[in-house]
Amino acid sequence: MSILINKNTKVICQGITGKAGSFHAQQCLAYGTKLVGGVTPKKGGTDVGGIPVFNSVAEAKAGVGADATMVYVPAPFALAAIKEAADSRIPLIVVITEGIPTVDMIKAKKYASERGCRIIGPNCPGIITSEECKIGIMPGYIHKKGSVGIISRSGTLTYEAVWQTTQAGLGQTTCVGIGGDPVIGSSFIDLLTLFKDDPETKAILMLGEIGGSQEEEAAAYVKANIKKPVAAFIAGQTAPKGKRMGHAGAIISGSSGTAEEKYRVLAANGIKTIHNPSAIGPTLKEMLGVR
């Protein structure tokens, strides 16, 4: 078991003829993902490394079927691409594109949720179920089938944590990069809800960052709902305070947002806090009682 995606998930790639899209679509295919098609307007009928390209998501869905889409479309056109996927009722829309305007994400999120679709990202490494299905830009080989569910706001820090859980012999069920933008499709809580009910996931690791109050909100959710062991690491304990303008940022985030405050709230809600970045694997091993 896993969450959201597995070896049967049919995936299409929007923006497949671009540099990043074509490279990563083929990497996903090589990993074992059922990458069944790609979409680029006006390039229908061609192929990328044997993957058939369609003019629209609707055509791709009709032609090869799709349970999920991986979006590499450049930022100015990402909103339209997400809307197109939602119009075709693709249930999982994984947005790798970085630099999408915040207002566009606000609109995309509403549009997708009104059509029953879930967005992961944007500006994230994607989602992977170890040894089954990779939708994104993460290096596949560091992942090993196992028992830890990972949710992360970061990129390479996620790979670091994945690698440590692999080295510790624990492996992962599913690893989700939710992205670090101000407005994201899926939050820590959205994914905790799924990991809670996945019997294969024996422990959950949250990788947070300074800013916002998502980790604090997730902490309260964990205490109220999750019986499995949950651990968390927060990056940015020593990050300098940037030059700021005005008071609105400080008012809206209140006391939350700093690494210190996040660690305090996480610990107070029974979550194991990890302060040493080299101790992620060993800590989870200990929590799961694995020798």
Binding site: P139, G155, I251
Partner: protein, 387 residues
């Protein structure tokens, strides 16, 4: 991208948000001319810098005569103003805004920013406006209202009028507040702002609302939609090294410490800084060379770090993902040969083909201190920086 108050007020005027009359001055003669135009009841001389907190830092003064306005302008322009919002560094004042003085009876606070929890833009409003608004928000949160709104369906005075909770004293102003909120929301959405703030929004002695201050920051990701805003960019907003780094796809922020660090990925870079601090040292910078870490990026990163005379050791922390460790190791060797790195280099590589990568470092003839864990690498780097 942040803009100055005088620029923000030009945009307020376009969106029919009332602001005092005034103009910019950089010299004594300009100050004197502005006083003639706007000084019937005296003027306010306001330093134009991008950080907030100017009032508390003494950057806003009143003048009752042209001579006084001239003296203040001369004193301000060219000086460095350090405010509590400035993040430690001061900012050189390049101009002042000279405005008519207006009598008012009450100060309010109104702003819009994106609420991460709400996933929507949020109007923030308080009847207790002024310089101490953050203390108000902290000590009496009930005095600060937050009204989220949908950018497509709720940018309307009716939405804000229905949601604003006002005291009996402010109740007569409900329609005016809602109308101002609508205009501010139109500006926020129309120009893809990240922040718009009026503090204080005042009630004039003769009645009617007036924006005494104006702050706007834009969503950098949306600037491509607004080429007209390009001209408002202050070239000094980012420090020159940070701008240079940006050209090479690097994200660099200079700090006070003596341990340089070069990392791929922002989260891992922050984690590396935390580890350096945890080992008893201080990072000299934040440097994210991007997920890929190419040889060009690494070489440019080294040269930017080495320009900082405080840097006594460098810690490289790279997780080789799509880019394999042996390729990264070769990039490190080539870059340090090219640049001629003379200070200790601690390298922590992890990921695929890591053994081959470490072998390349070992056989390069260069003095790399190779470590396997982040914590060990940080300790070594801190020790070598102190030596």
């Amino acid at each position: 991208m942040k803009i100055h108050e005088y620029q923000a007020k030009e945009l307020f005027r376009k969106y029919s948000i009332p602001v005092p009359q005034g103009g910019v001055a950089r010299t004594a003669s300009e100050a004197s001319a502005r006083f003639k135009d706007y000084g019937a009841n005296g003027v306010m001389v306001k330093t134009q810098i991008l950080a907030g907190g100017r009032g508390k830092a003494g950057g806003i003064k009143k003048a009752s005569s042209a001579a006084e306005a001239e003296t203040l302008t001369q004193g301000f322009v060219g000086s460095t103003l350090k405010t509590y919002q400035g993040g430690g560094k001061g900012e050189v004042v390049k101009a002042v805004l000279i405005e008519e003085r207006r009598a008012f009876t009450k100060e309010f606070y109104m702003a819009i920013t994106v609420g991460r929890s709400e996933g929507l833009p949020v109007l923030i409003f308080s009847e207790a406006g002024g310089m101490d608004i953050e203390e108000v928000a902290h000590n009496s949160p009930e005095k600060v209202l937050k009204v989220a709104f949908d950018p497509e369906t709720q940018v309307s005075a009716a939405h804000f009028a229905a949601k604003l909770k006002l005291t009996a004293e402010a109740e007569p102003l409900r329609a005016e507040f809602a109308a101002t909120a609508e205009k501010l929301a139109k500006l926020f959405i129309g120009l893809d702002a990240a922040l718009v703030e009026i503090n204080p929004l005042v009630l004039k002695a003769e009645g009617g609302l007036l924006a005494l201050d104006a702050k706007i920051a834009f969503d950098d990701n949306a600037l491509f939609r607004h080429p007209e805003l390009e001209a408002m960019k202050d070239p000094d907003e980012d420090d020159p090294k940070e701008q240079r780094a940006k050209k090479f796809g690097l994200n660099y922020i200079s700090l006070e410490g003596n341990v340089g660090c070069l990392v791929n990925g922002a989260g891992l870079a922050m984690t590396t800084m935390d580890a350096i601090k945890g080992a008893g040292g201080d990072p000299a910078n934040f440097l994210d060379v991007g997920g890929g870490a190419t040889q060009e990026a690494v070489a440019e990163g080294f040269s930017i770090m080495l320009e900082d005379p405080n840097v006594k050791a460098i810690m490289v922390n790279i997780f080789g993902g799509i880019m394999k460790c042996d390729i990264i190791a070769q990039a490190l060797v080539d870059a340090s040969r090219k640049i001629g790195v003379k200070i200790p280099l601690v390298v922590r590589l992890e990921g695929t083909r890591v053994e081959e990568g470490r072998e390349i470092l070992k056989n390069s003839g260069l003095k790399f201190h190779v470590e396997t864990s982040i914590a060990d690498a940080a300790q070594t780097a801190v020790r070598l920086a102190k030596a």
